[in-house]
């Protein structure tokens, strides 16, 4: 899967720098699952684009993978002049569905809950 992601991103963005790390083993997924990836992508294609536009461009490129086995993509996008040589690390897993499955009620909440500021 990492190789497939890499091939697609290279074709679409001609990256100056590209890192793809499979972080699936850090998450609550079955052994061997290829579900969580971290991508650091430095490309001239991002110059002048907002963060959301950059992420949307990557999601479009990887739409097929994201609709299938790839569940999480930690995405760090830089134009070449913004790239300082490293991107922040991904956060730890906190359980996901496994942490919560038993408690999930089947009905749909029709109102959102308010959270008090701390």
């Amino acid at each position: 899967m990492a190789a497939r992601i890499e091939a697609k991103l290279r074709a679409a963005f001609a990256p100056r720098h590209l890192e793809i790390v499979d972080e699936s083993h850090r998450h609550a997924v079955p052994p061997g699952a290829e579900s969580h990836f971290r991508v650091v992508l430095v490309s001239a294609a991002f110059a002048g684009l907002s963060r959301i536009a950059r992420h949307r461009a990557v999601y479009r490129c990887l739409a097929e993978e994201l609709a299938g086995p790839v569940h999480a993509l930690a995405l760090h996008t830089f134009a070449p002049e913004e790239w300082a040589g490293e991107a922040p690390p991904s956060p730890p897993c906190l359980g996901g569905d496994k942490g919560r499955a038993a408690k999930a009620p089947p009905e749909i909440a029709t109102a959102t809950k308010e959270e008090d500021p701390r």
Partner: protein, 105 residues
């Protein structure tokens, strides 16, 4: 009500709304935890929806938003981004400014 209508209404009626896995007190995903921590630090009220407890929203919001993953932060009806974008904006101070503008004192 249709699920897409429910989503639209939630996004339109709440100036700041976070779709996340788990709750602010007990996030169930590191990405959601990082997003909600950044939002709490802004010190303003915000709405949230736990998508693990709301499977229909979890299944349909990505289509509505054309954004495949969670968390998703929406401010004044606009998708701001996911965990990585929220973290970057928190670091630069842009998030505080955005939230302050969206939520009057």
């Amino acid at each position: 009500m249709d699920i897409m209508e429910i989503i639209k209404q939630q996004i339109e009626e709440n100036p700041v709304i976070l779709y996340m896995k788990g709750s602010p007190e007990a996030p169930q995903c590191g990405f959601s935890a990082r997003a909600v921590e950044a939002l709490i630090r802004c010190g303003k009220r915000f709405a949230y929806v736990d998508v693990l407890a709301n499977p229909e929203i979890r299944a349909n919001l990505p289509k509505y938003a054309n954004w495949p993953t969670f968390p998703q932060l929406w401010v004044k009806g606009e998708l701001i981004g996911g965990s990585d974008i929220i973290a970057e904006m928190a670091q630069t101070g842009e998030l505080q400014k955005l939230i302050d503008e969206a939520v009057p004192e």
